[in-house]
């Protein structure tokens, strides 16, 4: 076998071994293995978190809470007074939570200008656009423009309130209850509540959405 042939075969073998993870994947793996060795991380807890946030925990928790608030005005008032305590009553754990309510005259929009603070226990992982610099900077500077881009046009009299989240302040928007939903039960109402409505990039929820799906 010539030198050239052996090099070629080595290259083919390398190609076969191209399951080498990307640089950030190797760094994440290295970090986790060191943290596990130091007893600072339980690998089972990491796997459980990934499983939960990839599949189970999503905006449905928040949607159920909003639906309950629509049905029960007292609960809604408790949410507005002390949201962290109110959601605890319902079995959810989200610290530093503040609820803000949309009305015919007020629209609320939530952003984290610093990074991506978000009530993850209620809404799951934030959407990608929530983490992008474009949203983080423009939601404050040009909220009407951002809303327009999401297809939301506010009437002139509507005041827009932009809330900047931090690690100690996480917001959930209680959207307005759609017309034509009198007598609906919690599950039916919750099916109308979208993630974007609870962030504020959607305003008018529709009773038809559930009927269509």
């Amino acid at each position: 076998m010539t030198k050239h042939d052996s090099d070629t075969i080595a290259a083919i073998h390398r190609e076969l071994h191209s399951h080498l993870p990307s640089e950030p994947a190797l760094r994440a793996k290295a970090l986790e293995s060191l943290l596990v060795e130091k007893g600072m991380i339980d690998p089972a807890a990491v796997d459980a978190w990934v499983g939960a946030y990839s599949e189970d925990i999503g905006p449905k928790n928040g949607a159920r809470i909003v639906a309950r608030c629509w049905i029960d005005p007292d609960l809604k008032q408790r949410m507005l007074d002390d949201a962290a305590r109110a959601v605890k009553e319902l079995g959810y754990e989200q610290s530093h939570l503040i609820a803000v309510e949309n009305t015919p005259d007020v629209h609320n929009l939530v952003v984290c200008t610093l990074c991506s603070c978000y009530p993850t226990a209620l809404l799951g992982m934030p959407p990608n656009w929530y983490k992008m610099a474009a949203y983080r900077s423009r939601a404050v500077r040009d909220p009407l423009g951002v809303l327009a881009e999401f297809g939301v046009a506010l009437d002139e009299q509507v005041e827009i309130r932009v809330w900047d989240s931090t690690a100690e302040l996480r917001y959930i928007v209680i959207p307005q209850r759609p017309a034509g939903t009198d007598g609906w039960d919690e599950a039916a109402l919750a099916s109308l509540v979208t993630r974007n409505a609870m962030i504020g990039t959607e305003r008018d929820l529709s009773a038809r959405a559930a009927a269509d799906t």
Binding site: A10, L16, H19, S22, C115, W129, G145
Partner: protein, 126 residues
């Protein structure tokens, strides 16, 4: 709003249905951060400050405003926080990255990759 600004905003809504995690390491990085906060290794405030600082650096370096940049910044924030108090120093981490790299190269495709496979030199397949 200027035309260029509205164009720049275009991608936001289009990103609405994207999967949150494109690659498993992205979920792994956030899982590590959330678990370390839960263990009080650092606070949620420290995490948000460190992530915010990395995102600012990325913007200053004109890296693309996309999920890949976000998760790379999250990884860098995690490394910075753990290096800051000497828990995991950069050299130790770099060594471990190389060990894993060798472990992957030394392990035939389809077999589970163990860290011990990276302990020796990289095996040349000839």
């Amino acid at each position: 709003m200027s035309l260029s600004e509205s164009q720049a905003l275009g991608p936001l809504a289009r990103r609405d249905d994207e999967p949150v995690f494109d690659e498993p390491w992205q979920a792994q990085v956030l899982a590590l951060a959330f678990n370390l906060i839960a263990q009080d290794v650092f606070s949620a405030g420290q995490w948000s400050d460190a992530l915010g600082a990395e995102l600012k650096h990325a913007l200053a370096r004109r890296e693309p405003d996309d999920p890949q940049t976000y998760y790379r910044s999250a990884l860098a924030a995690l490394e910075t926080l753990l290096a800051a108090d000497g828990r995991i120093v950069a050299e130790r981490l770099a060594d471990r990255v190389e060990t894993w790299r060798r472990a992957y190269l030394n392990t035939p495709h389809g077999q589970p990759v163990k860290l011990s496979a990276g302990a020796g030199p990289e095996i040349r397949h000839q």
